[in-house]
């Protein structure tokens, strides 16, 4: 319950404040969001498997975001930023699909 409330408050704050990111961080935000999405679905899957742990979730969330941003940043430095961000999105996308498939099996037995 608190989790849903927290998500709603975060979205509400974002809409109300209209925050703008410094331009240097702009390219990394989409990748960070995809990584966070992966962490959230992974957390939900663990919750359904009854192995959920808040500490693991928080650490995985933060490290996912940071590593995704780091990979793209390094890619930008060595000139393959767009290719690397594509790679990150593909990998995270595959994980998200796997997690969602698992969640679907748990909830709907299908």
């Amino acid at each position: 319950m608190y989790a849903i409330i927290g998500l709603a408050i975060g979205i509400g704050l974002g809409i109300l404040l209209q925050p703008s990111l410094p331009p240097q961080l702009q390219p990394y935000l989409p990748i960070a969001i995809v990584a966070a999405l992966d962490a959230v679905f992974g957390g939900f899957r663990a919750y359904l498997d009854a192995v959920f742990d808040d500490k693991v979730f928080v650490v995985s969330f933060i490290s996912n975001v940071l590593i995704a941003a780091l990979i793209v940043w390094v890619g930008d430095l060595i000139g393959v930023g767009s290719q690397l961000s594509t790679a990150v999105v593909v990998v995270l996308g595959i994980r998200i699909f796997t997690n969602v498939a698992h969640i679907r099996r748990k909830l709907f037995h299908a």
Binding site: M1, I11, Q26, P27, V58
Partner: protein, 250 residues
């Protein structure tokens, strides 16, 4: 990343909905941490959605931007060339239209002059009206021809006899069966000659010694000639020019 261990007992799957329902109605404290993390996630999500809308080029990389700039510059050069070409065309067309308008005005002006000279259009203007009466029938074609020539010398531009005969370059006078004819039209005892020109000069040209008035009122003819100046003479008679059979414009 919390990786679930290999799915253990099916019991877990069976009461998954029950657990979700329980956690939604009676949340535990450990959910607070998750709530904070999800709050950050939602915040970032809206940041991206609201920021990405009006900045189309922020996510593009340097080389993409350079290529795009090149494209735009090439397009601008092409369009500038097109502008120059079209402006040149416009200037050419404008000068062409101007010269043809000048030629057209000139041609119209000459047409007016030639129409008056050829007698194909009615004319009006100041001039004189000469009324000649010849009760004894002594008037000869030569006298009339002399009169016309005198008036032409004095600057008569358009002339008419009896409101019927327009006097032009190939007009003729003749004596037929004792009566006078002008361009085939019989003239009576009283002849009215109208001429457009400077009234003073024209009336002087009829009065000099040995001129029209003197000739007609003299003993040989014994008629009368009355000259009046008219401010606005209207000459309606026109001639229908014949198509020349031999002459062609050179």
């Amino acid at each position: 990343m919390p990786e679930g261990p290999p799915t253990p007992p099916s019991r877990v799957a069976d009461n998954a909905w029950a657990r979700i329902r329980r956690d939604l109605t009676r949340p535990s404290r450990s959910q607070l941490l998750v709530a904070v993390v999800l709050l950050l996630f939602g915040f970032a999500l809206t940041m991206q959605l609201s920021g990405g809308r009006d900045e189309r080029y922020t996510n593009l990389r340097q080389d993409e931007l350079v290529a795009m700039l090149d494209d735009v510059q090439a397009q601008a050069r092409r369009l500038e060339g097109e502008i120059n070409q079209l402006e040149g065309t416009r200037a050419r067309l404008e000068s062409g239209a101007e010269s043809s308008a000048v030629a057209r005005r000139e041609a119209l002006r000459r047409l007016d002059a030639l129409e008056l000279l050829g007698g194909t259009v009615p004319a009006q203007g100041p001039g004189i009206r000469v009324t000649i009466t010849d009760p004894q029938g002594n008037l000869s074609p030569e006298i009339l021809l002399n009169t016309v020539e005198e008036l032409r010398d004095a600057g008569a531009e358009v002339m008419e006899l009896d409101d019927r005969v327009r006097l032009v370059a190939n007009s003729w006078f003749a004596s037929v069966d004792g009566g006078l004819q002008a361009d085939g039209v019989p003239l009576g005892d009283t002849i009215v000659l109208e001429a457009i020109g400077d009234p003073e000069t024209l009336s002087e040209a009829t009065r000099f010694r040995g001129g029209l008035v003197a000739t007609i009122e003299g003993d040989r003819v014994g008629g009368t000639a009355r000259v009046e100046k008219v401010d606005d003479l209207v000459i309606d008679a026109v001639v229908d020019p014949d198509e020349p059979r031999f002459a062609r414009p050179a």
